[in-house]
């Protein structure tokens, strides 16, 4: 049970769920949640490969940097969403079409 395949399947499932959230959700915050799920799945895959294939701590370090980048990304994304909400009074991603040609 505690094998590479188990963790990679969990990681794939998390990745696909996050991708589904990004594709089907209307609310920008929900899209951000999908991105966070995808980043988590990538971290899980990194740690699993680092443990069962590489046998060193490179995977864990990569996952640590993923967490750092996710924190920065969440802060900036939410600041953008707040501004967008102030502008449009909605958080729907479909309504952000001001730059459409």
């Amino acid at each position: 049970m505690n094998s590479l395949t188990t963790y990679i399947i969990i990681s794939i499932v998390l990745f696909l769920l996050g991708l589904l959230a990004m594709m089907t959700r209307k609310n920008a915050i929900s899209v951000l949640m999908g991105v966070e799920l995808i980043l988590n799945s990538a971290g899980l895959a990194f740690v699993a490969f680092g443990r069962f294939v590489a046998g060193n701590l490179d995977g864990q370090t990569a996952a640590l940097f993923i967490i750092i980048v996710a924190a920065a990304e969440a802060a900036v994304a939410l600041a953008v969403f707040l501004n967008y909400y102030r502008l449009k009074a909605t958080a729907e991603v479909d309504k952000a079409d001001a730059l459409r040609g």
Binding site: M1, N2, L4, Y7, I8, I9, I10, I12, V13, L14, F15, L16, L17, G18, L19, L20, A21, M23, T24, R25, K26, N27, A28, I29, S30, L32, M33, E36, L37, N40, G43, L44, V47, R51, V53, A54, G55, L57, D58, Q60, T61, A63, F65, I67, I68, V69, A70, A71, A72, E73, A74, A75, V76, L78, A79, F81, L82, N83, Y85, A91
Partner: protein
Amino acid sequence: MTLLSQIVFWFFVALTVVSAAVVVFHKRIIYSAFALLFAFFGVAVLYLFLHADFLAAAQVLIYVGGILTLVIFGVFLTAKITTLDIPQLTHQRFLALIPLVLLGLGIFLVFYTVPWPSVQPEITPTTQRIGELLLTRYLVPFELASVLLLAALVGAMRLARHFRQQEGD
């Protein structure tokens, strides 16, 4: 592995996947935000099963303590009470399943066909070795991460401010 740890492992696998599904499919966004908490926590426990103790602690501290709080603040600040109940899904969700299934099968086939070398997993505390790695081999990414965090901090504050001061200029 003993039977008990197997039960705990599969319980947290189920918790992670089910919570992630709730995040994606629940029509109320605040329920999604709280389900995200359990998904992050489940991933932290999976890190523990991978003997990544430092990473599990960092996951709980940063994701559950930081990012999730930010997300919940975002939900509260951008959703009117009346819009919390509106279905959040677009109409293309069944169309979205097609590339999703194809992509999932593709990733799994790539993973399955490559003969991965396997090493005997070691069980040692990782915190000290990660700290040494961060200050030797990963020193440049480490410093870049600090610059990135500072830039994100300043940028997020600048972005989230009201624009009224600009109008007065």
